[in-house]
């Protein structure tokens, strides 16, 4: 179902149509090559030795026994990498390197300490066990409460909190504080007829991509290397890996593999510099592949949190004041998404009085990585739960309450600037008008509504468009395809050039074949890389018009490009197709090709409104999703199938986050649920069909109206599910996950 602003008939021939996926056949036939699929002649297999402790000082590492084992070709430790502290590099670079391989301290269980390359994976595993590490075990902190307590063990000795005035004189585990405020909070609360104040907690959750991290490196005798890896941005992998290795960027070529899920978690490096250094040391190619327990213990996740939200509302449904306090776990190094969570927390609403405070707190857990709309789902869980309670308290429909306060064009966003044209109201109305919103609920069933915001992003992209000799077209970008971008690129190229979709081959090229591209993240690729593709196509069209003018011996402005062919304005010549012009390109100036590189403009923010119908068994605490409906503003759905897939994928992950997923740590600081048997993501049988409504409020700044759709869909589900559970059994869940034991405990507490 699609709701389009103003003109439902876009007039597009290819944009918005359903087509066969360019990568589909290779994936369903097993031909697609993912990170772990590459095998090179003479290739060695690597394994990583990881810390068993959450926090410890490395006293010594003895690799002699491992190095003496037959078949072991290389052993590396932190000493095999440059010391970026000594080199005076930035705090961010130092953290990237220290996370890839510990030097003096280990900061979480799973932190890499050494790595081995050997002739077999089994031998490498045995050699890893032969490495002797002496640790001085230190006290650890696992939650923001523990980390912020007086006298807490410090992860980073000299860390002084940023963003506090005056600057603290003593170090702590709080890396930074962010504040956003406006108006008069006391006045706002005084104007409210009802005030709700609650505290919430969430646990770290993993992105849960099915493909574990993998990297193959082949270092040549000339000191240059080639790296194959599955990531969300091979240019970023190159930059990060070279930072850790102390190399110039030009020494490393990165070839992207197909990617089996990323969701933000593959925008950072783990194995890549280790594989390169092992290969350099061994003089042979080296493959490193993580097991699932390593993925859990040492990559991702997103933050656990503690949050306090206080909001006031009039009996007419107007929010008069909001106070939000957020403390997010960053993992072992500063950089939790609490800043983004702060900016997004109230971005659905037009508010006069608010205060948002966010704290970035380091703990002895894996360094957090981006996860779909990083931070926004966490703060939305708290804020949207309180909005629901206020709506119920004043007896107003939850969508009407949100409509009464909804952000729209011209609203001063809580993070500062005025909103451009956005589609929150349209998503709210789409849910209100959906038949599911009127569906009758059964016993122990409840309905919950929540909405969410995400900025989306632009950033840097490059694209090259080649017209082949027969008029087919190759579209080359450097944006790994994690959500259907190859199809979107091909559809926009087809629309712009006026040729059939199946005449276009979209390709994701390596770091030496196409211009720089930032990571595939921030829901940015269809917008930004798409803009580069469209610009390249427009340049190609200009060239084609010039070539047709040469052919006809006329002026360029007498030639129009219509439906994939050059037409003489006065109709005096038969049209020249793309194939006609391509086959004679040598006579009109040589091969036809164009490229564009840009820092994308016109980013259009995304909103989603979602509705969950949940049935809860009060005897067992087990909940079942009865119905789920999501409406999201896509701007323009270039590829509706993929857009629906993104909507549904975000919801599926959000439901897992809401009901089951959590990192469970023992008091020893070790993760206890390191497999998909014990860390429960939703499977197909857990979920009903997720109904989607593609709302199209075109982004006026993009040639086809694109906003980006990959992230905001995961923002509302936790609150929507919590609000539905409240509707079903009357308890207000304040902690994620809302697993059967926690629901049962809440029911028992209530009774």
């Amino acid at each position: 179902m699609t709701v389009t602003e103003d003109n439902p008939n876009t007039g597009y021939k290819w944009v918005g149509t359903h087509q066969i996926r360019p990568d589909g056949l290779d994936k369903v036939t097993g031909k697609a090559r993912f990170g772990a699929d590459l095998v090179l002649p003479g290739m060695l297999h690597g394994r990583v030795l990881r810390s068993p402790h959450a926090h410890a000082r490395i006293v010594s590492i003895d690799t002699s026994d491992a190095e003496a084992m037959e078949g072991v070709r290389a052993v590396i430790t932190g000493a095999d990498f440059p010391d970026l502290v000594e080199a005076g590099r930035s705090t961010a670079d130092i953290a990237v390197a220290a996370n890839a391989m510990a030097r003096d301290k280990v900061l979480y269980e799973g932190h890499p300490v050494a790595a081995v390359a050997a002739t077999t994976r089994e031998l490498a595993a045995a050699a890893v066990k032969a490495i002797k590490v002496t640790y001085e075990v230190l006290g650890h902190v696992l939650t923001v409460d523990e980390a912020m307590a007086d006298g807490a063990p410090l992860l980073h000795d000299g860390m002084i909190t940023n963003g506090v005035d005056p600057k603290p004189e003593t170090p702590s585990n709080v890396a930074a504080k962010t504040t956003f405020e406006r108006g008069d909070l006391d006045k706002g609360f005084a104007e409210a007829d009802m005030v709700v104040e609650r505290e919430f907690t969430t646990k770290p959750v993993h992105q849960g991509y099915i493909e574990p991290h993998a990297a193959v490196a082949d270092c040549g005798q000339d000191g240059r290397a080639t790296l194959w890896c599955s990531s969300q941005g091979h240019f970023a992998m190159r930059a990060y890996a070279c930072t850790v290795l102390g190399w110039d960027t030009g020494r490393l070529k990165v070839i992207p593999a197909e990617i089996g899920g990323g969701f933000g978690g593959k925008t950072v490096i783990y194995l890549e510099p280790l594989a390169v250094r092992l290969s350099q040391k061994a003089g042979r190619p080296v493959k490193l592949v993580m097991d699932r327990d390593e993925v859990f213990r040492a990559t991702g996740p997103t933050s656990g949190s503690r949050m306090k939200v206080k909001m006031g509302m009039t009996n007419e449904g107007r929010i008069t004041a909001a106070q939000v306090w957020l403390a997010f776990e960053a993992g072992a190094f500063p950089g939790s998404p609490v800043g983004a969570a702060s900016m997004c927390a109230l971005a659905c609403y037009d508010l006069e009085n608010f205060l948002i405070e966010g704290y970035d707190v380091v703990v002895n857990k894996p360094r957090v990585a981006a996860y779909r709309a990083p931070g926004a789902p966490i703060s939305a869980f708290a804020v949207e739960s309180v909005v629901d309670e206020l709506a119920k308290g004043i007896g107003m429909d939850p969508i009407d309450v949100r409509l009464a306060n909804a952000a729209k064009e011209g609203t001063q966003a809580p993070y500062g600037p005025k909103m451009p044209r956005v589609g929150l109201i349209e998503t709210l109305e789409a849910i209100k008008n959906h038949p599911n919103y009127q569906a009758e609920l059964g016993p122990n069933q409840g309905r919950g509504v929540a909405c969410g915001f995400w900025f989306n992003a632009g950033m840097n992209s490059s694209a090259t468009v080649h017209v082949n000799e027969d008029g087919t077209v190759t579209v080359v970008t450097g944006s790994p395809d994690i959500g259907g971008s190859r199809q979107s690129m091909a559809l926009m190229a087809a629309e712009t050039l006026g040729i059939a979709y199946d005449r276009i081959r979209p390709v994701v090229a390596d770091t030496e074949t196409v211009g720089f591209n930032d990571v595939t993240g921030g829901s940015r690729v269809t917008l930004a890389t798409g803009a580069a593709v469209v610009e390249s196509c427009e340049k190609v069209i200009e060239s084609l018009r010039e070539r047709a003018a040469k052919t006809w011996d006329c002026e360029v402005d007498e030639v129009e490009w219509v439906d994939g062919q050059a037409q003489r304005s006065d109709g005096s010549q038969p049209p020249l197709s793309l194939g006609d012009l391509a086959s004679k390109a040598g006579r009109t100036g040589g091969p036809i090709s164009a490229n564009a590189s840009l820092n994308a403009r016109g980013v259009g923010a995304g909103y989603s409104t979602q509705m969950a119908d949940i049935e809860v068994d009060p005897e067992t605490g087990v909940s079942r999703i009865v119905r789920y409906t999501t409406a999201q503003d896509a701007g323009r759905a270039i590829s509706p199938q993929y857009v629906e897939g993104q909507f549904q994928g975000g919801v599926a992950q959000g439901i897992g986050w809401a009901l089951n997923e959590e990192y469970v740590h023992g008091t020893d600081g070790r993760m206890q649920n390191q497999s998909f048997l014990d860390y429960r993501i939703p499977v197909a049988s857990d979920l009903p069909m997720i109904d989607t409504v593609i709302v199209e409020v075109p982004n006026p700044a993009h040639p086809y109206g694109v906003r980006g759709v990959g992230e905001v869909g995961i923002v509302p589900p936790m609150a929507a599910v919590a609000n539905a559970i409240n509707g079903a059994i009357g308890v207000r869940m304040e902690a994620l996950p809302m697993s059967p034991p926690s629901i049962l405990a809440a029911v028992n507490d209530q009774s």
Partner: protein, 85 residues
């Protein structure tokens, strides 16, 4: 020519609590010029402004915006945008 710059809470230590600052950067103004003028008025504020990852000019958020032009009457916000997933 008038430009209104909004300073986030964390920067108001430099501006004695002032949240909104009006500047007259002259024709051909860029973000870089605004930063220089602000640094002259509130010494020390230049560095955090240069480190801000993005700048919103009349609501449009732009990354790496140091050399971006700023039109007359514009509203400017310095933002620390975070990478998406």
């Amino acid at each position: 020519m008038t430009v209104r710059v909004h300073l986030a809470s964390a920067l108001r230590g430099f501006s004695s609590g002032e949240a909104d600052v009006e500047l007259d950067p002259g024709d051909g103004a860029t973000v870089q010029r605004l930063i220089r003028m602000l640094d002259e008025r509130f010494p020390g504020i230049g560095e955090p402004l240069r480190q801000a990852s993005s700048v919103a000019i009349d609501g449009e958020i732009i990354a790496d915006a140091q050399y971006e032009s700023v039109p007359d009457g514009a509203e400017v916000h310095f933002l620390d945008m975070h990478q998406g997933g």
